[in-house]
Amino acid sequence: MGFINVKKKEVQIKIVYYGPGRGGKTTNLDYINKKYKQRIKTEMVSIKTHGDRTLFFDFLPVDIGKIHGFDIKIQLYTVPGQVKYNATRKLVLKGVDGIVFVADLQKERRDSNLKSLEQMKENLLSHNKDVFKIPLVLQYNKIDLKNQGIPLLTVEEMEQDLNQQLRVPYFVGSALTGDNVVETLKKIISMTLISFRKELQ
């Protein structure tokens, strides 16, 4: 749940990067952190396992300036992608305002994408949130692997698998090279802010 602080004229918004393990959620945040270093006053917080996988979440606060006189503070989170950490994923989704679902374009990850999206729907329901109502953007990640001869799914296949019912905006990108990372972020921020429009006016 976003929080409007009328005293400090500030809005805090929580955006969660969700998706299957090793799909590129943390890499998205790493790229944003590097790209907007001058706007991000603090270090990115990461709770990782020894194997450098996300254990609990990554957290990155970004100030994006003022709207209607309010300072907009975006708080970016990732969830741990590994299947066994669903309890933690559920916790991170608490109070979420907008979601980026980072799906993996690799053919062999097709099932993991589907399972992760299904579980996200269930986890949202446990917080009384409807996947059809929450601002959501899909990112089809790892397009950079195309040049390395790794079999990838086509955009049509990804759309068919994940976006047939949802009909939300999607970006084909690469978190590693930064391709469409910022565009994905901008889209989810603008969709989330639109959903708050009434409260801000």
Partner: protein, 129 residues
């Protein structure tokens, strides 16, 4: 999306100042369970990153809450971490918000618990308005 009136926030600040900072608490923070900072007051000598702190504190509280349910408890309503110089005391105000106090060795835990329970009652009243 929710908001709290300016008057409510100002009253909360006064309570944190009069009941907690006055007894020597270094920093008192009210956060919601999503990790947003609702109010924060300190003695002017706390320079840590409050946004990250709030995100971690909310995560920590949620994790402990989930552990409580696993062992058959409704909740652990109080958490406390003792450090060499600074200690942290977490308490649940209601289903949505938490109170966190950072304090040094000059404040006794017993006295702090007494004061935080008074503060929680007061904030609950303001929150329900």
């Amino acid at each position: 999306m929710y908001n709290v009136s300016q008057e409510q926030l100002e009253t909360i600040d006064v309570i944190l100042k009069d009941d907690l900072l006055s007894i020597g608490v270094h920093c008192a923070i009210i956060i919601d369970v999503a990790g947003n900072t609702i109010a924060q007051l300190d003695n002017g000598r706390c320079s840590f990153d409050v946004a990250s702190f709030a995100a971690l504190a909310a995560g920590n509280f949620a994790a402990v809450d989930a552990m409580a349910k696993l062992v058959g408890e409704q909740q652990f309503s109080l958490h406390f971490h003792r450090g060499e110089n600074e200690s942290i005391h977490f308490s649940k105000v209601n289903e949505d918000i938490l109170l966190i106090c950072i304090f040094g060795q000059d404040v006794s835990l017993g006295f702090l618990r007494l004061k935080t329970s008074e503060v929680i009652d007061k904030i609950k009243l303001i929150w329900s308005r």
